[in-house]
């Protein structure tokens, strides 16, 4: 589905309005301090009133099938609000996995995901790094079933997921299967960024029927590559949204805060820092747009180049924002550190900037 510029602009405005109402930073902090650490009410609202989870689900599977620009807009606004909702895990990762897999399990799950059911993927190594060669779950064939053993680390929203897509290595290449949450052990891992919930997922002789296998061999490789790409693109958009918000905060502070009888924003040291940050913010926004296109277009090189730029720009902007705010920006009560920690996690999750660049370098140096 293509979207006009005006539609995108409307989407952004209405989503921002809702999030400013329902997901102010007090609410983010409240969710962070309580179980399950995910704002299920907000998620339900986003599903019901805005159709957010449906946007990434194809029309033929009961979704809206929005284009990459629209998905990027949603991810940006969620990042801007630090929204603790399972958009990344469910609407991006799990939805991409089922969409690429097709078949009966996709037909079963995609309509539910579109309505707000939560899925996630366990497709990284124990250290949370993506890549078929980095998986620490092994699959062995046992008659008509496949048995999974091992660990996937830093799995998002596994505590609240109703279905997990698990990737494993086997003798015949990778295997991707849908697994019920009851079959695995989910151990929460508390990270500094409290707006995201991550877990270690352990599988001990988890026996899966053939029917739950979503992909094998080459098609599993392609499915996983797509999941990694869309994941990186979503994090890039999250970064672009967060960076812009932080920059707005810093600019406002620089206009308000007076030192040496002048607003600090009148000093070149601060003004020029804010200008450099703005370049990064505009770059991150352009990069997030490019990453969304590249993910949809299966362009590995462009995806890696743009996504790595965006997440790294976010960490830089976040650090500079603290510096501009001075002591105040370093307090627990101020929101700077929430963005800072999310920025750092965006950079590391589902493939760091360095991991992405290593992939880009493959394409750049291919003869």
């Amino acid at each position: 589905m293509t979207t006009t510029r005006e539609e995108l602009s409307d989407l952004r405005a209405s989503l921002r309005a809702m999030l400013e109402r329902r997901c102010a930073s007090e609410r983010v902090r409240e969710v962070a301090e309580s179980a399950p650490g995910v704002d299920l009410d907000l998620w339900a609202l986003l599903a019901r009133d805005m159709g957010v989870p449906a946007m990434t689900v194809p029309e033929e599977s009961g979704g809206i099938g929005a284009g990459p620009e629209a998905v990027a807009v949603v991810a940006e606004e969620l990042g801007r609000a630090l929204a603790p909702v399972p958009f990344f895990s469910s609407a991006v990762l799990a939805t991409t996995a089922f969409t690429r897999a097709g078949g009966p399990r996709a037909a079963e799950w995609l309509p539910r995901l579109a309505e707000g059911a939560i899925g996630t993927v366990a497709v990284t190594g124990a250290d949370g790094v993506p890549g078929v060669d980095r998986l620490d779950v092994r699959a062995t064939v046992s008659g008509e079933r496949i048995v999974l053993d091992g660990t996937a680390g830093f799995v998002p929203d596994a505590e609240v997921a109703e279905v997990l897509v698990v990737a494993a290595r086997s003798e015949h290449g990778p295997v991707v299967a849908a697994v019920e949450p009851g079959a695995v052990v989910v151990e929460p891992v508390v990270v500094h960024d409290r707006t995201r919930r991550l877990s270690t997922v352990r599988l001990t002789e988890v026996s899966v029927p053939r029917a739950d296998v979503l992909a094998e061999g080459d098609s599993a490789v392609a499915l996983l590559a797509a999941v990694y790409r869309h994941g990186a693109a979503a994090l890039a958009a999250d970064a672009a949204g967060g960076a812009r918000r932080l920059h707005e905060m810093a600019v406002q502070y620089a206009k308000d805060r007076v030192q040496f009888d002048r607003p600090i924003g009148s000093f070149q040291a601060v003004k020029h820092k804010l200008a450099d940050m703005y370049v990064l913010v505009e770059g991150a926004a352009a990069a997030a747009g490019g990453a969304a296109e590249a993910a949809a277009g299966d362009d590995e090189r462009a995806l890696a180049l743009t996504a790595s730029f965006a997440v790294e720009a976010y960490t830089e902007v976040a650090g500079d924002a603290i510096q501009v705010h001075g002591g105040i920006g370093y307090t627990w009560e101020h929101d700077c550190h929430l963005f800072f920690k999310r920025a750092q996690l965006d950079e590391a999750l589902f493939g760091s900037a360095a991991w992405l660049r290593a992939r880009a370098a493959e394409a750049l140096t291919a003869v």
Binding site: H272, G283, L364, T365
Partner: protein, 402 residues
């Protein structure tokens, strides 16, 4: 550069094929090896000829409106043209950068019909220069002191210009001079078209750190400029020059971006035979690869930012001060990328090929390209000035007390 609307694909592909075929047939051989060692007159003649040839194929200024000799080509075609010129290794008429860029934009947007006739000369290869900066007015351009006094049908101009790009080679110049000495700084300045052959115009080359003479000093002694060569209204030259400069920056960026991609491609080719610090092939060195990819990411994102800006412009939306963003971003990227080229090439980057002429910033002589990058961080509003512009005009931060 991404984002081609699906509908355009077949048409664009046909355009690309046509451009590629033409360039394959017409691109001069060995120019990149020979031209840097040629005399300036030979170089100028080469570019005049090449510009005329490009124009005869509709490839010099496709983006110009038809009434001025272009074909009103859109952004996508410009991008394709630049990509194909990179691919073909075709010369870019850099001596004509101001002619085809800022001068042409000024004439088209603000010129009288008489002035617009000068566009024909540009398509024939006339070099234009800029007379903006002065010894006491560099970053603080508005404090310029060159005076233009109306005397009947003429303005009589006295003063001195410096950092006049292409000044040594120019047939015409865009000149900023003060016409109202009593008005506040920005207000009393007018924009003129200066005949560089007029009596009283003296040009002295400035030799740059690269050895080239891209810039010149221009001394103006009782130079008589016909009043018909005043561009726009008297005392409004400042605003006029600023807006055309800004617009021009966006258009130019398509070519600059293509240049960065050329530098990256060159570096990858070189890395196949260069060695890393540990003696292994550079192209396989993880540090080189990480940095290469980081630079490629910055280049990619520059293209995306510019796509957005050009998209805004073609949709009639104000791009704001994003020209400052682009200049700041591009110039710093060029500086760091050429430094990376120097380091990657080791001592080979230090060997001086002793070229006589090379105004390119993508000559492949990494050291000179690196040094030349400072023209981009200093000239046409230093990066410090660009940051002020972004801070004050875009972000609304308070000005410094004076």
């Amino acid at each position: 550069m991404t984002a081609k609307a699906p509908g355009e694909d077949a048409e664009l592909a046909a355009y690309r094929a046509r451009v590629r075929a033409w360039l394959a047939e017409h691109t001069p051989e060995d120019w990149a090896e020979k031209l840097p060692y040629a005399d300036e007159t030979e170089v100028l003649e080469f570019y005049r000829t090449w510009a005329r040839e490009l124009h005869s194929a509709g490839l010099l200024v496709p983006q110009w409106p038809e009434r001025f000799g272009g074909s009103g080509a859109g952004l996508a075609q410009q991008v394709v043209l630049q990509q194909e010129m990179s691919r073909a290794g075709a010369p870019r008429p850099r001596y004509l950068a101001i002619s085809l860029g800022h001068a042409a934009a000024t004439l088209m947007e603000h010129g009288s019909p008489e002035q617009q006739k000068l566009l024909d000369g540009i398509l024939e290869g006339d070099v234009w220069c800029q007379g903006f900066s002065e010894p006491g007015a560099g970053s603080d351009l508005a404090s310029l002191r060159t005076r233009a006094v109306r005397e009947g049908d003429y303005y009589v101009v006295n003063g001195q210009k410096i950092w006049s790009s292409m000044g040594l080679y120019a047939r015409w110049g865009l000149l900023l001079a003060r016409t109202d000495p009593d008005a506040p700084k920005h207000r009393g300045i007018s924009l003129f078209i200066l005949d560089m052959r007029a009596p009283g115009v003296e040009v002295r080359p400035i030799r740059q750190a690269t050895g080239a003479h891209e810039f010149a000093e221009v001394f103006l002694t009782d130079v008589r400029i016909p009043a018909s060569m005043l561009v726009g209204k008297e005392n409004e030259g400042w605003r006029l020059a600023q807006t055309t400069l800004a617009t021009e920056r966006y258009a130019q960026m398509v070519e600059l971006h293509a240049g960065l991609e050329e530098l990256l491609a060159l570096l990858v080719r070189q890395a196949r035979t260069l060695r890393a610090a540990d003696g292994g092939p550079l192209v396989e060195d993880p540090e080189f690869r990480q940095r290469l990819a980081a630079f490629a990411g910055e280049v990619e994102v520059l293209g995306l930012i510019n796509d957005r800006v050009l998209g805004d412009i073609s949709a009639g939306r104000d791009p704001g001060a994003r020209g400052s963003i682009l200049k700041l971003y591009f110039s710093r990227l060029l500086q760091r990328l050429t430094a990376f080229g120097v380091r990657s090439n080791g001592l080979a980057a230090h060997v001086d090929p002793r070229r006589k002429n090379d105004l390119s910033y993508t000559s492949g002589d990494w050291m000179l390209d690196h040094i030349r990058s400072w023209t981009w961080t200093i000239a046409a509003g230093s990066n410090e000035i660009q940051r002020n512009i972004i801070g004050e005009r875009v972000l609304g931060l308070p000005r410094e007390p004076r």
